[in-house]
């Protein structure tokens, strides 16, 4: 395959289940399940055979109702959780020929620190609230092997400026910051090692509308400037419409529809998607 068309990330058949399964649910796919769980043994099938690609410089949106498995999928990709089965290939890692889920925990750390960045809905997941903001950014640089304070300060200041946090506040701890600012610090941290892929999970949920808009604008401008690929998860189709080139729709742990965002908005195929689009109008 020619490198220019090789996807930045290719995901194949990710499955994530909570529980052992039983005779009722282990057999034929999805039969016997109530939404995403087995009424007999209670096993939750949070992600079921999820496959997709992310191409260079594109934003892939993932939309779906609460509990549809979006966050679980993102956690699997960032190695916050282990997949039950499935594969993922990253173009910039070993030529995109190695299933990253089978790598050692050290290698996974390498991938997390060098090849990905993640922004969580809950900033506590990635920020140390008692450390300085610049320290929070430096943490990711240190993880990637940097041992030069001067360099890290320069990079940190550049990133804070980039996400519109005044540099004179760099010593302040994120716990003093508003929700929108905490998300900006998270974004700066995620970008620190110039990763080819950024994972964003509900990064504006819970912020008030004007702050939401400014964070979304920031994400858009970063994508334009840096040409970085992104996966952006939201239950809000408005966010997806504003940002995503292509969109996956998830329901009960499965991808039920995917395509260009405009196409999905104009001509939704699946009944669930149709309802979702109607509610947007």
């Amino acid at each position: 395959m020619d490198d220019s068309e090789r996807p930045v990330l290719a995901v194949r058949n990710i499955n994530k289940q909570y529980g052992q399964g039983c005779v009722n649910c282990r057999g034929a796919k999805g039969e016997g399940l109530l939404k995403n769980y087995c009424p007999v043994c209670g096993t939750v099938y949070a992600c079921r055979d999820i496959s997709f690609e992310v191409y260079a410089g594109e934003i892939l949106g993932i939309v779906g109702e609460s509990g549809s498995g979006k966050s679980t999928m993102m956690e699997c990709l960032y190695f916050d959780q282990e997949v039950s089965s499935g594969e993922a290939y990253i173009a910039s890692y070993k030529g995109g020929e190695t299933n990253v889920f089978e790598e050692s925990s050290q290698q996974k750390r390498y991938i997390r620190n060098h090849l990905m960045g993640k922004v969580y809905q809950n900033p506590l997941m990635s920020l140390k609230m008692n450390f300085s903001s610049i320290g929070n950014i430096a943490e990711k640089l240190i993880s990637a092997g940097n041992r030069n304070v001067g360099q890290m300060k320069v990079r940190g200041e550049e990133l804070l400026e980039h996400v519109n946090i005044p540099v004179y506040r760099m010593k302040e701890a994120p716990k003093n910051f508003s929700g929108g600012m905490q998300q900006r610090v998270q974004i700066a941290k995620a970008l620190s090692n110039n990763p080819p892929l950024l994972l964003l999970d509900e990064v504006t949920t819970g912020l008030d509308l004007s702050v939401q808009a400014s964070v979304l604008d920031l994400i858009k401008s970063i994508q334009r400037q840096l040409k970085i690929s992104m996966i952006i998860v939201s239950h809000d189709l408005g966010v997806i419409r504003m940002l995503a080139d292509r969109t996956l729709v998830m329901l009960d742990g499965q991808v039920i529809e995917q395509g260009l965002t405009d196409q999905i908005l104009e001509d939704p195929q699946h009944g669930y998607t149709q309802k979702l689009v109607q509610s947007l109008l």
Binding site: K128, F131, S132, I134, G135, E139, S143, R147, G150
Partner: protein
Amino acid sequence: MKIEYNFAFFDEGSKREIRRATLKAIAIPGYQVPFASREMPIARGWGTGGLQLTLSLVGKEDILKVIDQGSDESVNAVNIKKLIALTTGIVVTDETTEATIIQSRHRIPETPLQEDQILVLQVPIPEPLRYYEPSEYETKKLHAEHEYSGAWLMLFEQIVNYGAMSTGADHPVMVHSRYVMAPSPIPRFDNPKLNQNKALILLGAGREKKVYAVPPYTKVASLDFADYPFRVETFQDKCCRLCGAKDVFLDELLNDITGEALYQCNDTSYCLQRMNGISKE
């Protein structure tokens, strides 16, 4: 009524258990080995970890020295010596060169240690990553995966906030290029003495129930940055007002009346020894 104690206070089973943990600690330099810390007739936080190590090691032929903050005469050092002497009948000394076992809090003696000596250091907080990560489960994982960004991040924070690495004591070290270790609250001045030391160095934390070790001739490096190299405290041209020693750790005393700063050896037995030597000449 006179109570009869077993030799070295503990029953033989307890001593064996502590020795087993100690052997494991020596086999894995810098790794914190859990042990069943016993109730002692002194309060936790007063050196029970070191005391338990000493009691498990001591034999009838041993000669013991106990130092607290550089002094052999402090209440704590005297009480520990008394307990050990009373339950073993062994000889105690103030002279570093005479001792076979040296239990210490806050200092490594100025007189270089030898191969037939054991230094036991008392440790209040054995986990070097504790401030960065409060959960024991998580810090264990970080050690296992050799993920020490947090240790450098804590130093980075000091530089950002104070312009220099400001750990007055307990500056973290990398042992045998594998484990980051808290060297106990010794001043930075003593950190270099850990490197390639001829003596066996054991560290015990009673309250936290951990033992760890730096075997003889082990590489121990203080953590630092390329542009902020590790430095020990310097006393410039100051020397001890009593014995004239330079290049030792000096205490600063203020003359109440004149306000003049006076310096003298923190290691009182070293100072005495020098003064005796000088007067004999």
